[in-house]
Symmetry: C2
Subunit: 354 residues, 2 copies
């Protein structure tokens, strides 16, 4: 708990002076003022986050955290839970959606086992795999808490460790993503409980449930919330009762990134649920977050509304893994390049507005 | 006129078989079906355009066409017309927004002088500059047609030439962009006339007009349409009466790209007006277009609605130059990489939906 407290206390406000300088520079570049719209706004936010008024992003990292969920035994997912480790191996071989999109945007992928139900066997020490397994999947949360309180603490601490390790390696922007069969169920429970929205409204089809499956999922979530009765004043209790190890890990990444002034691009619904946990621990993290896309998964809008954030784009995606975050990182990178590389009116000898 | 007719007649329907194969392949990749949403749809469209069910984009080109507008003497722009050639030089030196974003997405920029009011002096033969100047700017369209009918034909033909030249050099996807002080005025005239929307609704502030300037602009457009009375059945007459050389050029690029089965990513309002001209000449071009973003410039929505197209994103941009198209090309490229590079369930040994 000490590490979480320390990290939370280190989070400062954005650097207003850097933001002002960045905004002033945007207005000298050869384009009508604010004609690059949200790209300009992002560059200013990144200046505020990093404290550098012409920020440069050299090492883009997607951290994809995997964990299993005991709740799958209630039949809440269209895919079997074996898919979690199978997809982790797919990530490590470079064949998944996140690998393709990360390569496309020039980011590296770091895969973290936060709590997959089987051991992930990696032949050689792999630079892109980190084992932070808290346990072999969460427990079935309709029968008690998903994890012990102490495990929830450790999952967040593990996320802090992972991000600090990546910063040592050079990371200057991070995207977070998830893999875990059953994790939209845990996320919907968290989102319903924290935002106060009805379970029905924030529960979607995940990887592809039919109507009957969706009914089961909604009932399961309601039952899990009733059985566990989380403490609204304690985000770690919420995470322990109805969360997941990868969700705790992502919350830890967000806290650590905020403490170290590194922008965090969040993905869809699951990383949104993690953002709610982190936000409960310290609302200042919001300043360090960039919402990439609006997911198809119902409930994601409630997350962003609760955080008061607008997504950058909506491409009807719902894959997770960090795929939306990867595309979002590319836009953030573009925004910083605009600020850094465009000629000013003076440099280019272009006449200004009459 | 022969070249335009020939090009128009060459435009075929999309390749349905390639689209079916691409869709089938998307469904075998290691993700829930259609979980990458619009990215999947784009890849299928590119398969239909190219006839290749696993298309690959190796040479991405942004064609930025520049032209001046006699209408600027009516005070319809916030910037002086000298900015058109000044920005062309900025493009050639690599300091403009389009240069930064094209580099970011791995595209090259080709700048075309379609009708700048001064000579563009390029010291050495430049691979990224093409002189297709039809005239030294259009005439003031409140006093007669913006250009002669024959010049309108030549501007479209020049666009066809430019695209065919780039295809010879290897281009397999093209984005179109514009530069021309005064060209939102010409574009609003075209859009109002073709869509039938009121001038007020499709006229915006361009590079940054104040309320008074906007009033003048609206009156000017109404007067130009009244003075010239374009022929609704003849798109080339519309272009001649109230268009611009760069608008004709972009329409030519779109026609030629469609004929040669090359995807064209359109930018904002000006390239949208060009798309309307091309669409009037042959509505099949729509199948070859991808709308990148929704521009802040009012009237752009009317363009996309008339074409029945949805933009990929909305970042409150209104710079032109092809900046939105560049970001759009990156998404198209990502979509094709998904189709090409992702592992199938079988290859990755991942279990399918239960």
């Amino acid at each position: 708990m000490g590490k979480i407290k320390e990290t939370i206390e280190e989070i400062r406000a954005l650097d207003e002076a850097a933001m002002e300088s960045a905004r002033a520079r945007q207005d000298t570049l050869t384009k009508p003022q604010h004609s690059l719209g949200i790209l300009e706004d992002i560059s200013v936010k990144i200046a505020g986050i990093t404290g550098d008024f012409i920020p440069e992003l050299n090492d883009k990292v997607i951290i994809t955290m995997a964990g299993d969920h005991g709740i799958t035994e209630e039949g809440v997912s269209a895919y079997p839970k074996e898919v979690t480790p199978q997809m982790v191996y797919n990530f490590l071989r470079g064949g998944a959606g996140i690998n393709v999109l990360a390569r496309h945007v020039g980011a590296r992928v770091v895969v973290v086992d936060m709590g997959v139900a089987t051991d992930i066997e990696v032949k050689r020490a792999s630079a892109n795999f980190i084992n932070k397994k808290i346990a072999y999947g969460t427990a079935n949360m309709t029968k008690g808490p998903a994890m012990r309180y102490e495990e929830a603490v450790r999952s967040i601490e593990a996320g802090i460790d992972v991000l600090e390790h990546e910063i040592e390696k050079g990371a200057d922007i991070v995207g977070v993503g998830d893999m875990g069969i059953g994790n939209t169920t845990a996320s919907s429970a968290i989102v319903a409980f924290i935002t106060g929205e009805p379970v029905e409204l924030v529960t979607g089809r995940g990887t592809g449930l039919d109507d009957e499956g969706l009914e089961v999922k909604i009932k399961t979530i309601k039952s899990a919330l009733e059985v566990n009765n989380p403490d609204r004043e304690d985000a770690i209790d919420i995470l322990a009762k109805v969360g997941g190890f990868e969700i705790g890990g992502m919350a830890g990444v967000m806290l650590a990134a905020s403490a170290h002034r590194i922008p965090v691009v969040i993905d869809g619904f699951i990383s949104g649920a993690a953002a709610l946990i982190a936000y409960e621990l310290n609302p200042k993290i919001r300043d360090y977050l960039i919402a990439s896309h609006l997911s198809v998964e119902s409930g994601h809008r409630a997350v962003l509304e609760h955080l008061g954030m607008e997504p950058l784009f909506n491409l009807n995606m719902r894959l997770g893994e960090g795929t939306g975050a990867a595309l979002g990182i590319s836009l953030v990178d573009a925004s910083c390049k605009i600020l850094r590389e465009m000629a000013t009116f003076e440099e280019a000898g272009v006449s200004e507005k009459e």
